[in-house]
Symmetry: C2
Subunit: 267 residues, 2 copies
């Protein structure tokens, strides 16, 4: 790996920003809001931001960069795929529970469901994420899946993963906006009470977390080396044969094109 130290510094920074975001949302619901419970009231709603940020943003972000961690390169590719899939499924489960919490809260409080842009984009993101997981499992983990299919689907899987992650953060920013407008009455959001400033900072932290994960995931020099390279100890100059799981789109065309033509892929 080139630039080992900058990678580790940025990875630590991303992890710290993601973790602080989770602490912020926890403080928001416990200190500024009503706390947590499963009673059909405001305390049940509060699971929605907590689980969405913890699962759908923080865990999904970690799942995206998990192939990049140098200390996992001695693990087999299959093991890393299982960890990537496991983190993604866990993120999905937390996202679904966060949806159940908000639908249940709306139903008990007689608030309509699915009227806002936040809910439209959020539901689309959950549906796309479920498709992403199902197709990912079938294509990259089922042994019967042919190589040409894996090669053809990989760029779509990579792009849609980053796109869904980004869309979820945008959805969270809309959710924060809604909740601060509806939740703050006296003083109002426009009066900038401490809760408003605190949760605006949470929004900035989520945006920064997104930027860091996207930067790490799109640096071709930080990719996991190919299996061949890892096990045969080939010279570093051969590094264009890098792993394609997170960044197929960075490959030079002749290489990826040849792989596509041969129906071969490291996936």
């Amino acid at each position: 790996m080139e630039n080992h130290r900058p990678f580790l510094v940025l990875l630590f920074f991303a992890f710290a920003v993601g973790f602080i975001s989770v602490v912020f949302v926890l403080r928001w619901v416990l200190h500024f809001r009503e706390g947590l419970s499963w009673d059909g009231g405001a305390k049940e709603f509060n699971w929605h931001p907590l689980l969405a940020v913890t699962g759908f943003i923080f865990l999904q972000g970690i799942a995206i960069v998990v192939y990049r961690l140098p200390w996992t390169w001695k693990c087999s590719k299959l093991m890393m795929k299982l960890i990537h899939a496991g983190l993604s499924v866990l993120a999905f489960i937390l996202a679904v529970i966060s949806l159940v919490a908000v639908f249940d809260f709306h139903n008990v409080q007689n608030i309509p469901n699915m009227y806002s842009l936040h809910s439209w984009v959020g539901l689309i993101a959950v549906i796309l994420f479920s498709l992403q997981i199902v197709l990912g499992l079938c294509i990259f983990l089922l042994p019967v899946s042919p190589g040409f299919l894996r090669a053809a689907f990989l760029p779509v899987h990579v792009f849609s993963g980053l796109f869904i992650f980004t869309t979820v953060i945008a959805t969270a920013l809309m959710g924060i906006t809604e909740k601060l407008i509806f939740g703050l009455k006296d003083p109002k959001y426009k009066d900038s009470p401490p809760e408003a400033t605190f949760v605006n900072v949470l929004g900035l932290l989520l945006t920064l977390f997104g930027a860091l994960i996207l930067w790490i995931a799109t640096r071709s020099s930080w990719k996991r080396p190919s299996e061949t390279l890892l096990h045969n100890n080939e010279p570093a100059s051969d590094s264009i044969k890098t792993d394609t799981a997170m960044s197929e789109r960075h490959d030079p065309e002749p290489n990826s094109e040849a792989r596509r033509r041969n129906g071969k892929t490291e996936e």
Copy 2:
């Protein structure tokens, strides 16, 4: 270029979605809202969404993919840089006028400025975009700028361009959320009147436009060929020497690394 037809279809689709978004925001402010004027009232506010979508999203999106248009490949690289910079500066000017409109409206109506997450993220995006333009002009257009600086800055310029573009769309989604909550009184946003549904669809169109532009900009096989390739008519197998303006990060490491070491860049 590989896959010429899919590129043209997607490019047309992206342009159509972006153009329809502009039509939607125009219909929103003219049909559902009060229209356009510069009077310190609601009509002045309406310039804010119109110019933000037209300039900061649609024009910026076009500026991002302008290097990819095959019919511009016979133009010189300098000409394309000037078009890219010109579109970006125009997008910036419209974004600034859209900011002036909303600040002026707030001041006349005694509404506080800069309290919402929408305003925080939006202002950061405008500041980053101004830095992006100034640094881009100085580093890639000033003849005295050294090659090693261009090579070192290019990945940052590419990433931050796509990041700012994405952030502006997220900001627009927050702005739509705010405006529909504040603007719809009877019926309210939660009652899903026609305006709410119409503007939610605008939000989806902006998200789709973002996805299409990001997909086009990150396909390495759709890059503008290098100047050498264009002018010397070298064989297609040499296509790893592609233009780096929009997608330096897709280059194989050995190639970009060698370019960095030599202090040479096509920029």
